[in-house]
Amino acid sequence: MSLSNLFDGINAPFLAAGLVLYISAVISGEWYFKAPGERVRFRVLVAAASAGSIGILSSGNWLLFVFFLEILTLSLWSMISMKEPRAALVYLLSQLAAAGLILVGTAGVYAHTGSLAIGPVPEPWRVFFMAGFGIKAAFPLLHFWLPEAHGKAPSPASALLSGFAVKTGILGLIRAFPEPFAPLVLIGTVMAFFGAFMAVFPRDIKRVLAYSTMSHLGFMTAAVGAGSGEIAAAYAFSHAMIKGNLFISAGIVEKTFGTRDIFALRGSGRLHFAAVAALTAGAFFAAGLPGTASYLLKNSVISSLGHTAPWWQPFMLTAAGMMAAGYLLNITAPLFFRDNSKNGTPKHEEGGNIIFAVLSVTILLLVIAADSFFPSILHAFRVDTGFTPASDKLEAFIASAAAGLIILLARLRLKGIPEQGLPDIKICLSMDEGPLYAFNRVSGCCHPGRLNTFVFVALVFLVLLMLTL
């Protein structure tokens, strides 16, 4: 563990992102939490989380990496459980599983090479790192925890989760797979599209943002798989800024109007412009319109795939990028252009106007600054974006059209879908229904309390021992 590790080309974007995010989380936490006890707890937890983050970035071996990852996990778990203990439990268990997998992989690497140093992972142990960091970075099917945790955490904690905690998975992937690695490209492509698709449906703003995070993580994973870790790191920085803003401003909206349901929020922009402005601005930058950093980076990711990639991979990534504009429009447009008079005006908190205005403008300025200076920041990180649209114009056009079509179709169907969006795979995890419950019923028979059975088991055990030894 040495501080010199902090400032290499990969870590610097993460460090910068962490710095901004932790400061803004502390500031917004002061405003978000009303009870003094909660405020103190949040401050302490942010301190612990930032200590863990610094540790992650500066650690030179995998063991310390996992060690600090778990400290970060624990403090975030505690933050989430301030609001939703159940979602926090799912988060904690999934992250512990991830850490355990990475630990096993690390042990394997140590047995293989005799060193714990962070670096490329030899062949047989890659799967553990992929699974472990896959849970952290929410690979498809391993993402079960993400919508829950991001959607239900307090907003400052969501910002940290989406802005930094999931990025540690990307950081680990960059470190473990510095060379091009085709499966990651495949996973990243699927993930980007899947996340974007799932983000179209929910009415809960934070849930949309959660799936959007998954989609962006897909872009980063694809970049890692293509072997260009610098682009992934730069993407992570940009995305951390934008998501930090979006989640915090979603928190402002929630606090102001008492709801996150986009149906109930219709027309709220007219009532309270300052509260909604930050969200809209963030959405504008996240949508990846030409001229923003997101646009630049998405294209860099697509071009980094190179010409060897099968045709559908850039196609799907382009579509996912286009769909980002669609789902963000889904959650921002109704704020201004719809009238909600028939549902009555949403709850409107008086007296906080100035704070909201200052906060939102500050965040807005921060994002604009980050975005407009982005090319020079990239230069400072020694990243060569090498912007050359890899996919030809026709393919990009078809992809955009397909994305638009999907969004349109989804919009038409939106009314029939529950507030939380399409059903996800988290049912597998719940105790009340699902495999765990079934197992619970079966394991009840494992200890019958009958002495004869015990002796019989011992005898069977003896026979098995005799046969194997």
Binding site: A97, L101, L103, V104, N440, G444, L451, F454, A458, F461
Partner: protein, 496 residues
């Protein structure tokens, strides 16, 4: 001489207590405390002697081929330390809870202490069996000591299964003796090399089965949750923290000495047992409603971790197993003492009824939290480090599945310990009383138990940080090297 004293002093104490009882009906607490201190310092002296200069004492001056040998090397010393600390803590808790009243309890306790030291120090296979039987009888009696029907049933089941285990150990000893004609473990480790394959199979199957039953690993674990959950608090802590470790020592000693060079499959079997045990223990703990039973199943799982370490058949694995044994002693004793005390005061052991404790007794809950975080394997604590060492040695031995089982176990154990903790911190139930609930007893403030829990929690934190320093890691790995170095042990005993 120190080695003999470590066995004889507790036995003398066990004999003296009934004698004192004849003079006075209630023994003074200080008397038993002093006896305990003397006995523990005798075993610590043996541990000290064995750690810095491995020591052998030939009883009665007979040569090792004929007579009984007591040996103390670093492995024995480490386990002497574990049992010393653990039984000291249990004795303190028992003295605080019972006072000097139940003299039988203390007599059995000292008998147990003496026989444990005997198991840890003996170098003779049959002598091991004899001490093991004294130890087991004392353990059955301690389990059944409260004479409640749960305790009696658990004691009887423990007795029957334990006796079957002991019979298999005896059978293994008999086979060994028939095959080689010697009982000294050091000489046996040389003689068993030339024993035919089939005989060796029978010997190893009998010994492994017997010792596994005594250890309480998964397929034959049935007595363990019953006994650990039915006994009184101090006894549960003693059972889980100390007695299990003694069985693990016996398993380690026998397997490393006899089968390291002759029958490597034994270690594969131990790894399989350990993995099963870890998985089964955790999964069974997940569905428990009784807090002590949950902790008992958690012990089954932790035994699995230790056995995975033993099954690596390497110095690193043995060191990790010893380190985890030590950590588990600290963690599980603290957890049992904390859980026993809060459930005694609440008058119930059901987890869902143990609510509102964070308001009533924050220190107990805090201690429980730290210790359960340690046993789950949360980073700055010792559980994480010992788990990491076991995973590392398991991967080093070329098997990944045990390591994955440990990783899965972390997740499951986090789930069930969090359930307990969330019950503790949730607001207490309203004033309406459950008519079937036994009335909460008025209990004296348990300052000694609380101190023990607190210091164990501190110890967990300190060990977790210490494990990073190469200096302390060197100490631990020296235990492992001693455990697998059969040649040095043989040389020590025979004087060659």
């Amino acid at each position: 001489m120190t080695l003999v004293l470590a066995i004889v002093v507790p036995l003398v104490a066990a004999f003296l207590i009934p004698v004192f009882h004849l003079a006075r009906k209630t023994l003074p607490v200080s008397l038993i405390g002093i006896m305990g201190l003397i006995s523990l310092s005798a075993s610590m002296a043996a541990a000290y002697a064995g750690w810095f200069s491995p020591e052998v004492s030939l009883l009665g001056g007979w040569a090792p081929e004929i007579g009984i040998v007591l040996v103390a090397d670093r492995l024995s010393s480490a386990f002497l330390l574990i049992t010393g600390i653990g039984s000291g803590a249990a004795l303190a808790c028992a003295l605080e809870k019972f006072g000097g009243g139940p003299w039988r309890f203390y007599a059995i306790f000292f008998l147990l202490l003496g026989s444990m030291n005997g198991i840890l120090l003996t170098g003779d296979l049959f002598n091991l069996f004899v001490f093991y039987e004294i130890f087991s009888v004392a353990a059955y009696l301690l389990v059944a000591f409260s004479m409640s029907w749960q305790a009696l049933e658990a004691g009887l089941k423990y007795l029957v299964l334990g006796t079957i285990g002991a019979l298999f150990i005896l059978l293994g000893t008999a086979f060994t003796f028939m095959a080689t004609g010697i009982l000294n473990m050091a000489l046996l480790s040389e003689a068993l090399v030339s024993v035919p394959r089939e005989t060796l199979t029978a010997i190893s199957a009998c010994l492994v089965l017997g010792l596994t039953i005594k250890t309480g690993a998964f397929p034959v674990h049935f007595w363990l949750p019953d006994a650990h959950s039915s006994a009184q608090t101090a006894v549960s802590a003693l059972l889980s923290g100390v007695l299990v470790k003694v069985s693990i020592y016996a398993l380690m000693r026998v397997c490393f000495l006899f089968f390291l060079e002759t029958n490597g499959t034994v270690f594969l079997a131990i790894t399989v047992i350990g993995s099963l045990s870890a998985l089964g223990g955790h999964l069974m703990a997940l569905r428990q409603d009784d807090i002590k039973r949950l902790l008992a199943y958690s012990t089954v799982a932790q035994i699995g971790y230790i056995l995975i370490g033993v099954g690596c058949a390497s110095a690193a694995g043995a060191a990790a197993a010893v380190f985890h044994s030590f950590n588990h002693m600290l963690m599980k004793m603290g957890l049992f003492i904390a859980a026993g005390n809060v459930s005694d005061e609440k008058g119930t052991r059901e987890i869902c009824k143990l609510t509102g404790l964070w308001k009533e007794k924050p220190f107990w809950v805090l201690g429980f939290t730290v210790l359960s975080a340690a046993i789950v394997g949360i980073p700055p604590l010792n559980g994480f480090m010992s788990k990491w060492f076991i995973i590392l040695s398991s991967a080093g031995a070329g098997t990944v599945i045990p390591a994955l089982v440990i990783a899965a176990g972390t997740v499951i154990s986090a789930a069930y310990y969090l359930r307990v903790l969330s019950a503790f911190v949730s607001p207490g139930e309203s004033d309406q009383e459950d008519p079937f609930k036994s009335s909460p007893r008025k209990v004296r403030s348990k300052i000694v138990s609380l101190t023990i829990v607190g210091s164990f929690a501190m110890f967990c934190l300190a060990l977790g940080i210490m494990a990073f320093s190469p200096f302390s890691r060197e100490y631990f790995s020296s235990i492992g090297r001693t455990a697998v170095d059969v040649g040095a042990y043989v040389g020590l005993v025979t004087g060659r």
